[in-house]
C-alpha cells in the first residue's frame, strides 16, 4: 500500500486511516449527489429498468413498449382509435365487468378464510364475519354488491355491443363467448346465493333447482322424465344438489362451483374473449359510418350454411 502511494513520510496506521476517511468523505459526497440526481429520474434507474424491462423516455417507441412489454398491459394494443377512448362509445362496461371480477376474486378469497362450507358452521361463520372479524361486514357487503354490479355491467355491456352492431363480422364468435360469459356470471352469482345458508338463499336455491326437476327427459317431473326412468334420486336436480333436498351436499357443491370451478371456467373464457377482441382488430369503433349504397351485392355462387360474407 505504502509503495503504491509512493509516499515516503507517512506509513503509520493512523495516517493511513485519516487519509482514507478524507477520501471517503469526498466520495460519499459525490455518490450522494449522484444518488439524489438519480431520484429525480427514477425511471432511469437500474431498479426501474429491471422491473419494467424498458427505458422510459418520452418517445413514441417507449410509450408503445411500456404497454407491449408489460404482462398486465399487453392485452392492450400499443395504440387505439382516437375516438374509442371516449366514454360515450363503450360506456366502459366491459372493462368495469372485468375489474369487478378482480374485486370479487380478491374479496372472495378473503371471505374463504372465514368460511366453512358445512351445515353446522356456514351460518355461524357469516355471523362471526359480520360481528367479530375486523372489516368482515364490509368485506361481505363489498362481495355482494360487486356481484350485483357485475351483472348490471354485463347486461349493459351486451346492450352496448348490440346497439353498435359490434357482433357483426368478424366478431360473431366473440359475441357467442360473451353470451357464455354472461351465463357464467349469473351462475356465479346464483351459486354464491346459497352459501350464507340463510332462509333467503335456501329458498331461492330451492325455487331455482326445483325447475331442474322439470327438465324434459332428465327431470323426474319433466315431460317424458318418468318414462326415461327418472326419479328424485337420479335426475338432473339430484346431480345439481348432490341429494334430493337442498342440504349439506348442496352447500358443498355450491361452494366448489362458486369458488373453484366456475371462476376457472370463466377465466378461460375471459382469456379467449379478450384475445379475440385483439385478433378481431380491437374494439369495433367508433367506425366510420357506411352508406346503404355501399352494400356490395353478392356475386355468383352464394356461400351456404349461415351468412353471406357481408360487406368489404
Amino acid at each position: 500500500m505504502a509503495e503504491e502511494n509512493g509516499d515516503k513520510k507517512s506509513t503509520g496506521l493512523l495516517d493511513r486511516v485519516r487519509r482514507d476517511v478524507t477520501d471517503l468523505k469526498e466520495t460519499i459526497k459525490e455518490k450522494g449527489k449522484e444518488e439524489l440526481e438519480g431520484l429525480k429520474e427514477p425511471e432511469k434507474t437500474q431498479l426501474f429498468r429491471s422491473i419494467f424491462r424498458v427505458k422510459h423516455d418520452e418517445t413514441p417507441r417507449n410509450r408503445a413498449l411500456s404497454v407491449l412489454s408489460n404482462v398486465f398491459f399487453h392485452l392492450h394494443p400499443a395504440k387505439v382509435n382516437r375516438d374509442a377512448v371516449k366514454y360515450k362509445f363503450t360506456w366502459g362496461m366491459g372493462g368495469i365487468t372485468f375489474y369487478l371480477f378482480i374485486v370479487l376474486t380478491f374479496t372472495g378469497v378473503l371471505l374463504m378464510f372465514y368460511y366453512h362450507p358445512s351445515k353446522v358452521q356456514a351460518f355461524r361463520d357469516i355471523l362471526y364475519l359480520e360481528n367479530d372479524v375486523p372489516f368482515g361486514k364490509l368485506l361481505r357487503n363489498m362481495h355482494r354488491w360487486a356481484a350485483h354490479l357485475m351483472i348490471i355491467a354485463v347486461w349493459l355491456h351486451m346492450f352496448r355491443v348490440f346497439l353498435t352492431g359490434s357482433y357483426k363480422r368478424p366478431r360473431e364468435f366473440n359475441w357467442c363467448i360473451g353470451v357464455l360469459l354472461m351465463v357464467l356470471t349469473l351462475l356465479l352469482s346464483f351459486t354464491g346465493y346459497l352459501l350464507p345458508d340463510d332462509q333467503l338463499g335456501f329458498w331461492a336455491v330451492t325455487v331455482g333447482t326445483n325447475m331442474a326437476r322439470a327438465t324434459p327427459l332428465l327431470g323426474t317431473e319433466g315431460p317424458f322424465g318418468a318414462m326415461f326412468g327418472m326419479t328424485p334420486y337420479n335426475d338432473v336436480r339430484f346431480a345439481l344438489l348432490g341429494g334430493s333436498i337442498v342440504d349439506a351436499n348442496a352447500l358443498l357443491r355450491a361452494y366448489i362451483w362458486h369458488c373453484i370451478a366456475i371462476p376457472l371456467i370463466a377465466s378461460i373464457f375471459m382469456a379467449l374473449h379478450f384475445w379475440r377482441v385483439r385478433k378481431d382488430g380491437g374494439i369495433s369503433g367508433p367506425a366510420p359510418v357506411m352508406l346503404e349504397s355501399e352494400i356490395k351485392e353478392e356475386k355468383g355462387h352464394r356461400p351456404v350454411i349461415l351468412r353471406p360474407s357481408g360487406m368489404v
Binding site: 360506456w91 357482433y167 357483426k168 317424458f224 351468412r307
Partner: protein, 327 residues
Amino acid sequence: MNWHQIWEVASAPDNVPIVALLFLVPFYVWYAFRQALENDRLIDKLSADPQAAKTEYRKTEPWNPKWEREVHTWPYLLRIELVAAILVTALLMVWSITLSAPLEEPSNPNVTMNPAKAPWYFLGLQEMLVYFDPWIAGVIMPTLIIVGLMVVPYIDANPLGNGYYTYKQRKFAIWTFLFGFIGLWVLMIVIGTFIRGPGWMWFWPGQTWDAQRVEFAVNRNVDQIFGINGSWLVHFMPASNASYAPILARIIFGIFPILFYFVAAGYGVHRLLLTTEFSRKIFKRMTLLQMATMELFLILMLSLPVKILLRLLLRIKYVWVTPWFSI
C-alpha cells in the same frame, strides 16, 4: 293506499340493483339513441352528397386532418382505466358502508318464505312460471334465450351499422333487441320484484301484501272452451279403449291451435321482415337457413307475450294438454 309497502320493497338492500336498473336502462337507451340519431343525420347528409362521402371523416367526432388517427394506449387509455377502477372502488366502498347485505334466519326447510323469490336476475324466469309450466319457463326458455342470443350474429344479414350507433340502418334488429331485453327481461324482473307479493299474486303499487289473500283460479284450457270430450272419437275406437277417447281427443285437438300459432306468427314475422324497401333488400341477402332460424326464434320469442295475453284476456291456462306435458 299503502305506500309503505312499495317503499319496503324498493328499499330492500337486495333490490337496489333493480331500482338502479330502473334509472340506468332508460339513461343508456337515451344515451345510445342520441348518438344513433346523430349518426343517422350524418348518414343522410353523406347519402345526399356522394362527393362529401368520399372526403368526410364519416364520424360525428371532431376531426382535423393533422391529427393522428390513433393515440397511444399509454397514457390515454390506461389512465381512463385507472380512473374507472378508482371510481368503481369508491362506489363499492360507499355502497358497502351504507347498505348491508341481507342475512335472514338460518335456513329452515320447515318454514317456507312467502313469497319465496329467486335472486333478482332470475325473477324474469320465475315470472314466466305464471304463464308456462316449469319445463318451459325454467328449462326451455333459458336455453332458447342463450342459443337465441348466440345465433344473433349469424342470422343478422345486415352489413350496415358495424361499429357505430345507428337507428335508421338497423331498425328491425334494434326493435327486436329492445323488445326482448327491456320488454321481456327487465320488465319481467321489475314485475317480479315490485308487483308479485305473497303467493306470487299480483299486488299493484300501493296495495298491501296480504298473505291471507285468496284468488280463485278460474282459468280453463282451450279444449274446455270448445267442449272437447272425444264423444265422436269413441265411435272409431275399440270399446275396451273408450275411456281414453277424451285424452286422445284433447291431444289431437291441441295440435291445431299450436299449428295455427306457428303459421300465423310465422307469417306475421315474415311480413314484418318485408316491411320497408331496405328490409326487403336485407331479406334477399339471407340464406334459407338464416331465414328459418330467425323466424323460428322470433316465433318462439313472441309466444311469451302471446301466452300472457291469452291468460290475461281469455283466462286460458293451457293450449295443448297431453298426459306428458302441457303448453
